[in-house]
Amino acid sequence: MLSFLMPARRGSGLGMALPALVLLLAFFVVPVTLLLTRSVTEPQPGLQNYETLLGSATYLRVFGNTFLVSGTVTLVTALIAFPVAWLLAITTPRLAGILFGIILLSMWTNLLARTYAWMVLLQQTGLINRMLMAVGVIDQPLQLTNNLIGVTIGMVYIMLPFMILPLYGVIRKIDPAILQAAALCGASKGQALRRVLLPLAAPGIASGALMVFVMSLGYFVTPALLGGTSNMMLAELIVQQVQSLVNWGMGAAAAFILLVVTLILYALQLRLFAGRGV
């Protein structure tokens, strides 16, 4: 009855967290802090890095690209994920097991392997273009890589599981009796969907959407391989500034902006879903 008061061992247990704490302080907090300070100290003290970043059309386009792609990816994954999660929640365990297997397989397959596949599939002479031409939808191969279309397709592929899984968790918990009640109250299927199922699933949709959006904002690999240098996203900008241009001040400033946006959205998610157990 009182066993939460009686750990059977004296002492707070904080000591056991110490190794992980030290590791994170040494290899996470210190490096990130050092990096962020460079944004206001290099090349000389001041806020000029931020002024440049937020004041020039070139860099604003990078921000624009980042938000555009992240927003589109979030929207598309939500549209696909909702019906799939819904089906997963109500179908037979066997079918759900197969679908989950496919989802987990794609999720755990090496990221570069998946991205490589899309690079080949989407190139001008690739399977997708040739199939579209064979069917007669297009005459000329479409430009699907080295631009934001390719990035979006590649990222939707990567993010889908992260939307489906939380949504599935929420929909599965909905009591079918609630929807039976809606039907008995005279609601048509469309009304029941719009007025009952969607509102009940909303926390899952919002939670998944925030997660996908945040992950997309800082994504590096897919944009770097499927997007061109002319359609840069924020993570690429950071890497380019640091690695190619050795401009640590600018790279750090961009990293700081990405960090702040990420943390704000994360805090929002925690606050929105703190009491709901999502």
């Binding site: 009855m1 009182l2 066993s3 008061l5």
Partner: protein, 360 residues
């Protein structure tokens, strides 16, 4: 010298006093039950004996030696918990063998003791089962075997049956009695169920708000409760509220709202003339009669309601000043079947069954 001495235990969590000056001497082989509502300090006292908590003040002595400085795992005490605590990855036999394995006993001795412990709780032949495949009652039997297999000097039981349904609970209560008789182990048993306490225990310590209100055998607590709390918690009871008129050597006189007086009542607690006090009567210790009733141990009442309960019936009777008390008539009582709502009758009792409790 007592076998187990709980000596002035006090435990404070932050600014909450969980137990206060708990003083109890337990004899070897005794079945002692801590009875009380949740939060009354009974479990805390048990956990202090187990060594899961250190008391703020006081001492625990086993055969005269303090055990407070011995860590839990070296106290050699057995315990059955409220929740199922079998090791989920070990079979029944392995669970029971666990205490012997950590004591580095040899294989043959372990096998022998495990077999006997399982026979004791009547689970012979189920040694290979996994806990997840067993019912709650079986799991608690295994837990009991595990706690007894190393012959602990004291067995602690923390509401071990509270997760079971009524029928199973009674069945295992019998088992526990039998095992206590067979092994002669000293048992400290915690429960909030008075029936369970009465059924099992040699003696019962009634806990309330961190203190022991009374210690005694079941019949003692029932027949002469020391406090209003004990009277209320052990057995059924009705309380009629009155006022202390005067106090003499033989008892107190209580005056009720309509002027009715009852004399020579044993008064418990710090009563004073003019102070409020309650008369306690047990439904099964009072009788209903059409006549005038026993002088000084009766009241005229009006029947409010009659409820048939199988082997007995309960009659709600209203006193002249409007309070209601329950009267239980066992099947075959001459009045049963004749009593109707609105009848004017008399309740009467034996003088020793009436108790007055002063209110603070």
């Amino acid at each position: 010298m007592s076998y187990l001495h709980i000596n002035g235990i006090r435990k404070v969590f932050g600014d909450v006093v969980a137990t206060d000056h708990v003083e109890l001497e337990i004899a070897q082989g005794e079945f002692m039950t801590f009875l009380g509502p949740s939060g009354s300090g009974k479990s805390t006292t048990l956990y202090i004996v187990a060594g899961f908590q250190d008391p703020t003040a006081g001492d625990i002595r086993l055969r005269g030696q303090s055990i407070l400085n011995i860590p839990s795992h070296k106290r050699n005490i057995g315990m059955v918990f409220q929740r199922y605590t079998l090791f989920p990855h070990l079979s029944v036999a392995e669970n029971v063998a666990f205490p012997l394995r950590v004591r580095r006993m040899n294989r043959a001795e372990i096998d022998d003791k495990v077999r006997r412990a399982l026979a004791l709780v009547r689970l012979d032949g189920l040694g290979e089962r996994m806990p997840a495949k067993m019912s709650g009652g079986q799991q608690q039997r295994v837990a009991l075997a595990r706690a007894l297999v190393y012959d602990p000097p004291v067995l602690l039981m923390d509401e071990p049956l509270s997760a079971l349904d009524k029928k199973l609970r009674e069945e295992i209560q019998h088992e526990i009695r039998r095992i206590h008789q067979e092994t002669g182990v000293t048992i400290l048993y915690v429960t909030h169920d008075q029936e369970e306490a009465l059924r099992l225990s040699d003696r019962i310590a009634v806990f309330n708000q961190g203190k022991i209100e009374q210690v005694g055998t079941g019949p003692q607590l029932y027949a002469s409760p020391a406090t209003r709390f004990v009277a209320d918690f052990v057995g059924d009871s009705a309380f009629l509220s009155g006022q202390v008129q005067d106090m003499t050597g033989t008892g107190a006189t209580l005056r009720f709202a309509d002027g009715t007086m009852l004399r020579d009542l044993p008064l418990h607690g710090a009563g004073r003339p003019g102070g409020a006090a309650d008369l306690m009567l047990r439904p099964e210790r009072i009788d209903l009669t059409p006549g005038r009733g026993r002088e000084g141990a009766s009241l005229p009442v009006t029947v409010e309601d009659v409820t048939f309960l199988g082997n007995s019936s309960t009659i709600s009777a209203r006193t002249p000043w409007g309070e209601v008390l329950a009267v239980r008539l066992t099947f075959g009582h001459p009045l049963l079947g004749q009593v109707r709502r609105g009848d004017r009758l008399t309740v009467q009792w034996q003088a020793q069954d009436a108790h007055a409790f002063a209110r603070d």
